[in-house]
Symmetry: C2
Subunit: 704 residues, 2 copies
């Protein structure tokens, strides 16, 4: 069955069985049933337990087969050793959506992993979807139902939240009740044996009750599927992710925790960026943003008006705007005139609008109303400090009233203070105005609203370019290298593959005798470079394995012999294939273009400043292949050398179109051939516009 | 009088007069008197008001002269036009410390600024110190007194706080009451006409009741004085600063707000770093740190043990540690064995220590006790999520008990959740354990404790090196340039100054005829470079004003004439002094060493990767002059080219000692001659170790 149809059933069941329902207080099977009964679920609830009897006033069925009606969804909370047989029973009964709360699977090792594989087989055999195992359950505030052992049920809201950590969810649920943040769906992903984050992202995308998607994940199951799901959803709603396991130490903790194989964090960063997912650096900021996204219009741009009753907070807010990519709006003449007419003469009517420490509720109303009306303003931040004459609650109320008149622009408040702000903050929150204690958090939240619109609008419907290439020749070379049990391709082999994919290379040919070297040099044209051809010799120059600028046949023959001798002296056991003869490419801007392969996300293409100091400059950027032309253009422009290539200080611009082409052709190559685990062009020389690029040194490694 | 003695009087007065005390509710003069009376001040309080009578039960004096006893401190809260005469009266009465709350000075423009100057004259005439004007007042919880119009008095604590924004203080005061954060001193700086932030920093440093200094500033009055005060205090206590006006827009708001002239933010950043001040990026993080510093031991190192009852938060914490420069401690064998013996088998006894979702208070006690005892652990972070079997309050209590047994290591808690955590959090806070809602804030706070110790320990007693230089020659050149009303020095002049300060330069001489050019070329040795010598021509190469690699007398003469002709053709109105003849320096690693001058902090020296792409690589760093040798070494190593200079990939290291020398000599030059507003050496070539450095192009600009 289609997974999305299965999730529809999970989100909107007419009946739910709790298999493992228990009468014993403190047992999960009791918690789940109690939550379900108390959650106001309007469909049928079937407790199942071989002991029968009554629990919490409901008749208990001894097995799912005793239930005569259809069962849409079952929550399984029984010892691990019985789970497989019960899942099979559910399949036979025709249950389409299972939530397996029971732990003791992948996280305990090999045996558990095998059991999970069988779960998936059963899911496929019977056309079911399975959430979990090893999870807290699921809560749906719109159905409504609470099919989890959580302590408490979240408020109803528009945030769909899925988490790979059940314990984290319990903390967040408790916290959200205090902070009055509501959720539409609350999903504990567990071990993700069957349904994974991508499935839920897609489902949240289709869910009319969710406007905003939050995720806590430690890894993704399938990088490509995750990106596809996000790309589908982001044009409609924002996705915010906290991805932990960033640090090497964190990654260790992650793998010991859920047994998941964490991908490198770079690939996650790149993947999120490339499909428009917003990455939150920590949980607190995730929920600051959530508070603002819950039921608020998006800003049309990044121009912010700041209204304050004190200078200091106004400056802090201005600073924070600049750091976050927001602009301080230039107020229209009408607004300025209006403010001059309505505020005391000492007030600042420019942005930040300072209504002074004596500002009364009506002063705030004038400032906010004028800002909300102003076409130069996309969002409004209202600051208040409790000064002697400040009427805090009345100001909160007038802000709510004013906002209701102009509901289309985002408006957030910062009421700085403690106990005297408790009630005014409730007035604001209940009135639909998110309120913060310090300016930076408010600015951050508004900035994220804006950045989501930028991400959304930059996701273009753009196809992956496909170049005409010689795939057959490439396959032949790779096969021959594999036959020899080698992993590192010879320079001539790597260059031939590059040529087969239309990448302009400094031509290179393998010579096995000094005479052949001389012939090849004449064919390529002087001057030439000679390099030892051996998969065992990585640092060729260190052993005298490279000679450059050879101008005559005599020099070439002498160099050939000398290089071979050097190699034999320094690395007597190296397998030597001969000496590569290469034309000397004219020098250009030095670039590096490379590719590595990420476990979760596949080929990760790198571009940046090349040459021997790559590691010190670290002027590099990454994208995942396959790529669109915009991706390639972005990849170049994300580096500093990108701006150099455009031409600076009167220098002619470089051939950026050729660089893009080369990146796209590499992207195609590493997508076509999964055997290629590493590829490095360093340096590639970029020439002036119209004069192309030349790959000087191409290295390719295939899987062992 | 010595300002510090004056502040001692301000902090510990035996009597306080409130000049402008008022019987009218809502008037500042009433608020101040009431706060003072209610604050428990044990000395004498003298309300002063020309109307006399009684206010709040106290006898009112018609003028300060009516008071027969000594008055140590006076708070002035009367209309601005009367302030000067009252200050004079206070002087004559012998009051040593004044707090002027009254507004209407510098912030209203020229007239106010003049009045402030007179205030300072009076302060000096009578040996008084003045806080303000235009401020909220001062609160001292150890005296105790509240001499401000604040709504409420802060809790007693160990944080000394000074703020340039009074309104911000009111918000923070209110907030701190709710968060239970205490203060030792609470100072509103106001316009800083006399006492400034540096004076208070020094006083807080000497104050036995303060362990931690917090500042909110928009600018500093005197950069050098500020840095000196900080350097004096930081070995004893940490200083945290929020400096606003970071953004260009923010800087505009700052200058319109307090009329202060904001320095460039780079100089602030550099100054803070150079004297060990910790800069907080926002108010919230400032107070997270404050909560931890209030009464806690500093960690001996950066190795953290994490104790948790759930994997997810453990990973988030691990990530946050890595980002913040903390290490995950490698637990000792004893600890691991102890944990194995006391925790369930499924628990993770490595760091993060995961006591599992079933963890009971005793499990937490075992984990925390073992961590606090472990010599490999410098600080402990305890995480708790409210799971089914979690006893939250009991765990909080046992943490407090355990901590009391081992009080020497910092311990912070993260209790994730909402309402169910309210009481446990009080237990922790009252028991001296700071508690947070999300892991990142706890990690940040511990990291700041650690970074303070690093800053403190890196402040060495190191003298500024003084080289033997030719100051007289330099002064002569500058004088002659000033005489000609020029601001830009000729190349030969700039090079001569560099030589006078012992900076190795590629020698350069000015030729006014082709014959002289030929003679000079012979003197310097071929090949040479010729450059047009004109203060009006900045981009010499753009108009054909430079010729390099001239090998023969004929080439030199021809080039001389050609350059002059080019200059006359392209810039007919330029003042031309002739053509500079310069020896061709052998090429080395290209560096830039420069200096600009900051309004607040003086000479700001820059070092980095040089050449024509300086602006694109932006591989640069800054320090304020004068510098120690460690400063110079740090300046180099803060850049990426710093690591290249050390020698990489088998390349010989560069002559770093010579580069340091050059930086220090420039530092001395720009310190000696305040007339130099800009200096640029670009490029300087650095050669191999022992072979020095060569300044190829030196540009100097002096004040107009």
């Amino acid at each position: 069955m289609d997974r999305q149809k299965g999730i529809d059933q999970l989100f909107n069941p007419r009946s739910i069985a709790v298999i493992g329902a228990s009468a014993t207080k403190g047992k999960l099977g009791n918690d789940v049933l109690q939550n379900l009964i108390e959650s106001g679920f309007e469909g049928r609830i079937y407790p199942v337990n071989p002991s029968g009897g009554k629990i919490l006033g409901a008749n208990v069925f001894r097995s799912i087969f005793e239930i005569s009606s259809d069962v849409d969804m079952a929550v399984i909370v029984i010892p691990a050793q019985h789970v497989l047989s019960v899942v099979e029973e559910c399949g036979r009964k025709g249950v389409k959506a299972l939530v397996i709360i029971t732990a003791g699977f992948k996280e305990i090792g090999h045996e558990g992993l095998e059991a999970e594989k069988k779960l998936v087989e059963l899911a496929e055999k019977y056309g079911m979807v399975i959430q979990g195992p090893n999870c807290l359950g699921i809560i749906n505030t719109s159905a409504p139902y609470n099919a989890s052992f959580s302590a408490g049920t979240p408020r109803k809201g528009t945030i769909a939240f899925a988490s790979q950590s059940g314990a984290l969810m319990t903390g967040i649920l408790d916290w959200s009740l205090m902070e009055k943040i509501g959720f539409s769906k609350f999903v504990s992903l567990g071990n993700k044996a069957h349904l994974d984050e991508a499935d839920f992202i897609e489902a949240f995308g289709r869910d009319p009750d969710s406007t905003f998607i939050l995720l806590y994940i430690e890894s993704v199951v399938d990088g490509r599927k995750f990106m596809d799901a996000c790309r589908k959803v982001i044009p409609k709603k924002p996705i915010f992710v906290v991805k932990s396991g960033v640090s090497s130490a964190g990654a260790r903790a992650a793998s010991s925790h859920t047994g998941s194989l964490a991908g490198s964090d770079t690939a996650y960063d790149v993947a999120f960026k490339q499909c428009g997912v917003m990455r939150a650096s920590n949980m607190a900021s995730l929920f600051d943003v959530a508070a603002v996204f819950d039921d608020m219009h998006l800003p049309a741009g990044n121009r912010v008006a700041i209204v304050t009753n004190a200078g200091g907070p106004g400056i802090l807010t201005t600073d924070a705007c600049e750091v976050s990519g927001l602009e301080i709006a230039q107020l229209s003449t009408e607004t300025i005139e209006y403010l001059k007419a309505h505020l005391p003469p000492a007030a600042s009517v420019y942005n930040p609008i300072d209504a002074l420490g004596t500002a009364q509720p009506e002063d705030y109303a004038h400032c906010v109303e004028a800002s909300l009306r102003d076409e130069n303003v996309d969002a409004v931040i209202v600051l208040l400090t409790p000064q002697a004459m400040t009427k805090v609650t009345e100001t909160a109320q007038i802000l709510v009233d004013t906002r209701n008149k102009y509901p289309d622009k985002p408006l957030v408040a910062v009421f700085m203070g403690g106990n005297s702000m408790v009630y005014p903050r409730i007035v604001l929150t209940e009135g639909g105005i998110p309120v913060f204690d310090f300016p930076e958090r408010a600015v951050h939240a508004i900035a994220e609203l804006y950045h989501y619109t930028v991400n959304r609008d930059s996701l273009k419907e753009e196809s992956i370019p496909v170049f005409k290439v010689d795939k057959k020749k490439t396959a032949e070379i790779i096969k021959s290298v594999q036959k020899e049990n080698r992993r590192v391709l010879l320079g001539s082999e790597a260059h031939t593959i590059a040529e087969a994919y239309g990448i302009p290379v400094a031509r290179i040919k393998l010579a096995t005798s000094s005479e052949e070297a001389r012939h090849l040099a004449e064919e390529l044209g002087y001057p030439v470079v000679l390099k030892i051809a051996s998969p065992d010799i990585i640092h060729k120059s260190d052993i005298g394995g490279i000679r450059v600028g050879l101008e005559t046949p005599g020099q070439v023959e002498e160099a050939f012999l000398q290089i071979l001798e050097n190699a034999k002296t320094h690395m007597p056991n190296a397998m030597i294939y001969g000496v590569d003869v290469q034309e000397m490419a004219e020098k250009g801007k030095e670039l590096i273009i490379g590719c590595s392969r990420d476990v979760q996300f596949g080929p990760l293409v790198m571009f940046g400043a090349g040459g021997i100091f790559v590691n010190y400059l670290k002027d590099i950027s990454f994208k995942l292949a396959p790529m669109t032309r915009s991706d390639a253009a972005d990849l170049i422009m994300e580096t500093k050398i990108g701006s150099l290539l455009r031409g600076v200080r009167g220098e002619a611009p470089s051939d950026i179109a050729s660089i893009e082409d080369t990146i796209l052709r590499i992207s195609q190559l590493v997508t076509d051939f999964e055997e290629i685990v590493e590829l490095d062009i360093n340096p590639a020389f970029a020439y002036q516009k119209g004069k192309g690029i030349s790959a000087v040194d191409v290295k390719i490694t295939i899987e062992g």
